[in-house]
Amino acid sequence: MNKLILGRYLPGDSLIYRLDPRGKFLITFYFIGIVFLANNLVSYAFLLLFVFFAVYISKVSISFFIKGLRPMLWLILFTVMLQAFFTPSNHPIWHWAFLSLSKEGLVIAGYIFIRFILIIFISTLLTLTTTPIEISDSIESILKPLRVIKFPVSQVALMLSIALRFVPLLIDETIKIMDAQRARGVDFGEGGLIKRIKSFVPILIPLFVSSFSIAYDLAIAMESRGYKDGEGRTKYRILHWSKRDNITVVVMIAITVVLLFLRSYK
């Protein structure tokens, strides 16, 4: 489980860490959107430059980002191959049966590859520098307008933060149950696919039972501490939108303008 970099927070301190999580969250999605505006080598190079600059000022070692790519590697390769071999072209450099390789295909495959790198790096940057609780706070803040249509925003946010808080506890619980079942002779790594899936049933059922009992305990504890229905609650954690967040927004606008300009550049 330690291998998964995507979605993990890495404690640290730099400008990127100090940005308002709401801003970071929205900018990440905005950037993923504008990645699709790029259409030629210069514009892709420009975006790559921007992402590497962001990685550089985050002071997070680049190796974390490379590791973040690893679980996605097969998906990336598969997509790139698909683009390279199946792009229709009138001047193939090489072809065999239904496969053909052309200059256009290779270029598009290269673009797709860069797109993957951009999107994975920028979202890894968000999760590495933002704590889960900050992300859940920003979701609450972004969804706030939905209160108008009676959407229970603060309840959903509390649910999210409790869910995040209990992930490590449930992982511990799973390990405990697995050990208990192993002690009784269950072998999780043996047999065919069906047998392996079946051997997870004796983990899942106790896990469900214990998570319900944890939920019950937690509900009692929350009620005893005066949690009613989320009405009239004040907030201890607040988010600060500061000057540097404004600057980041300006930078993003500038990038969009440059990108639009580079699009028509031949």
Partner: protein, 276 residues
Amino acid sequence: MKNIISMKNVTYTYPEAETHATDDISLDIQENEWVSIVGRNGSGKTTLTKLIDGLIDCDSGDIFIDGVKIDEDNIWDARKNIGIVFQNPDHQFVGATVEDDVAFGLENQGVQREDMIKRVDHALQMVDMQDYKKRDPQSLSGGQKQRVAIAGVLAIEPKIIIMDESTSMLDPDGRRTVLDLIQNLRKKQSLTVLSITHDIEETQLSDRIIVLKSGKIVKDSDPKGIYDLGPKLIDYGLEEPFTSLVADGLRDELGQEGYVNEEGLIDQLCKLNSKM
């Protein structure tokens, strides 16, 4: 002295249970008292505390907290006077970090943020956890988590703290720090403590012990009165105090009948030593 908790003929039966969980219990607890509630598993201890906090409604009888009879309308006000520390430290940690968890009860009461920051800091100082403010629960030991839970309770400034086997999942060190903390708090401020426990040492710290059996109060006295029961304590889910076991073993030499506390025992052993 004023009664902070008063129960009159309280009966509660769990749905589909054949016997009463609490059977016609009447009980008065005075302000600033430390009361231990003991008894075997299933004797109704936890039910009793849930009734006091209004987490379950009694079938018959009345409960008064700080002179006010609790009902559905004022239970949320009554809860502001009561803080409960539960058994499992992990199952009551709501916040993502220590400070968030301490603030949870204050957020529920709608306390203003500036006030909240002061009260969270003060509560963490009282339990000596201010250095851990930003930490997440995974990085804390069981004893530290229980101290955070106590801080969360203290932040709402309750008159009553209920400890529902709060020390039973801790190692001896963690248990010691939690009990020392409660003792020190009671020196500084008025605080009624209601503690459910199986730990004989913990009961020695209290002013009064109530023994429950099958939902009924079978004994209610100061610790000495309970320890004098000797081997019969096992029936009530308690072990004999260590001092009683020593005194019992040396009965011929010491001639001690009934319970003796630690100081008394040391005294007698010294006398015995000088005689030899």
